[in-house]
């Protein structure tokens, strides 16, 4: 008899959401996390809960993200009830078009997503410069913006902490410094998870592999097709100022403690989190173009973090066919999809099956 119903490998935004969702349903669950030397994708996050621009070419992903934004508020409220942690979640988000061509392209993308989804739930507004200036007085000389009430932002570090605390409050076992070397399939069913020194860490009836970049090697050893690669994003942080921007503008957002985060770079690298001056200068210049006042703020720091990227940028959700009970999940939208991961995906694991509605997320889509 296994000591746990489910062993979740990885304690980041995905693993913590699954762990929380599983204990919430009464499962006996252990989350195995690496030490502080791990690639902490969850700690470099920008903090958007974001719908706009996601899911072009894959309506299932747009619908899934829309569902996440629908249930995010209740998800955050429940975490606050249990842990006392306010995630500072607020709805409403802008994507600013610096010039007419950029704005037209953004609108065309949203139109395409809307028509691929085939319903009108994906509502958005297009704001011209005059209206945008009324709603966002600090904006510079730009063409306009698209806005949805579904988009929003939160404090991603508090999200991670709240999920880990709620998980433990409901009896979940969180084990740091527990990097996994291998997963053994037991002859009678179930799994045995071994640590870096070869010692047994846990036995469980099911395993969820959600260790971000750490999943790649484990998946390969288990014969699971998990096509992920790191995509680096760099973020700049300004000094704290009085709250002047309640809603994020995708690449620019003011946090609950007053700092501005400037971001949105994408670079294909290996496992390299170093910043470089050229990328930081490009980010600063494009954000200052949208909001000139940013040029007068001092920078406090900058960092690089590694998104978990799939070939098409959409999530991968799968259960092993040869070893039922072995799930692997990966995506870059760890904050936005946290609500779906905790409240929906955890139930797939409990039921032992991923509903047909979500079969589009299987990586077999990369082999057609």
């Amino acid at each position: 008899m296994a000591e746990y119903d489910v062993c979740v490998i990885g304690g980041g935004l995905l693993g913590s959401a699954f762990g929380w969702g599983l204990v919430r349903e009464g499962q006996r669950c252990v989350v195995l996390d690496e030490g502080d030397g791990a690639i902490r994708t969850a700690r470099g996050n920008f903090g958007l809960v974001w719908l706009q621009s996601k899911g072009r070419g894959m309506p299932e992903y747009a619908r899934w993200t829309l569902e996440a934004t629908r249930i995010w508020g209740g998800f955050a409220d429940e975490l606050k009830d249990i842990t006392g942690i306010d995630l500072h979640y607020a709805k409403g988000g802008y994507n600013i078009g610096a010039d007419e061509a950029e704005l037209a392209q953004m609108v065309a993308n949203l139109n395409q997503i809307q028509s691929e989804m085939g319903d009108d739930a994906y509502d958005y507004e297009v704001l011209d410069q005059a209206r945008l200036k009324r709603e966002m007085p600090l904006v510079g000389d730009v063409a306009g913006a698209t806005y949805t009430a579904h988009d929003g932002h939160c404090n991603p570090l508090l999200l991670l902490r709240a999920m880990q605390q709620a998980f433990q409050a409901k009896g979940g076992a969180y084990r740091p410094n527990s990097g996994v070397r291998s997963v053994e399939i037991l002859p009678g069913g179930g799994f045995r998870i071994l640590g870096q020194n070869g010692a047994e860490l846990a036995r469980a009836a099911k395993v969820v592999l959600s260790a971000g970049h750490g999943s790649a090697r484990l998946a390969k050893d288990l014969g699971i097709d998990l096509p992920i690669h790191p995509e680096q994003g760099q973020v700049l942080v300004t000094e704290k100022v009085a709250p002047v921007m309640p809603h994020p503008a995708m690449s620019v957002r003011q946090t609950d403690n007053g700092s501005f985060l400037l971001g949105a770079s994408k670079k294909e690298v290996d496992l390299d989190t170093r910043t470089d001056l050229e990328t930081l200068a490009t980010i600063a210049a494009s954000c200052i173009r949208l909001f000139p006042f940013l040029g007068r703020l001092r920078l406090q720091r900058a960092w690089g973090a590694l998104r978990v990227m799939t070939p098409d940028g959409h999530p991968v959700y799968q259960q092993s066919e040869s070893h039922p009970g072995l799930f692997s999940f990966a995506c870059h939208s760890g904050v936005t999809l946290a609500a779906c991961h905790a409240l929906h995906v955890s139930k797939w694991v409990i039921d032992g099956t991923i509903p047909d509605t979500y079969s589009a997320f299987h990586p077999r889509r990369f082999h057609v």
Binding site: L138, K240, A242, V244, N257, F293, L297, R298
Partner: protein, 99 residues
Amino acid sequence: MFKRLVDIGTPVTFDFEGRPLTAQAGDSLASALLANGVLDFRQAPEDGTVRGPHCMIGNCFECLVEVEGLGTRQACRERVRDGLKVRRHSGRPVPGEQP
């Protein structure tokens, strides 16, 4: 609250909120202020609470002050100098723009 244990340099005079204070060359601005009994370095812009140094090693950003000619600085990473003019960091709105 804080007492200097060892003399480390020659006396310097600087200005905090219009008040002349003395310190010693080699002091960080944060320790110079603490040695003068100043604990409230800034007002947090997000909620107006009074803040002061926490880590003294450049991580926490709680010791922010306004240094004339330099703008916002971490007091623990700035050396005190003769004639330095320093003010509390306040929860001012974004400079120059009326939100």
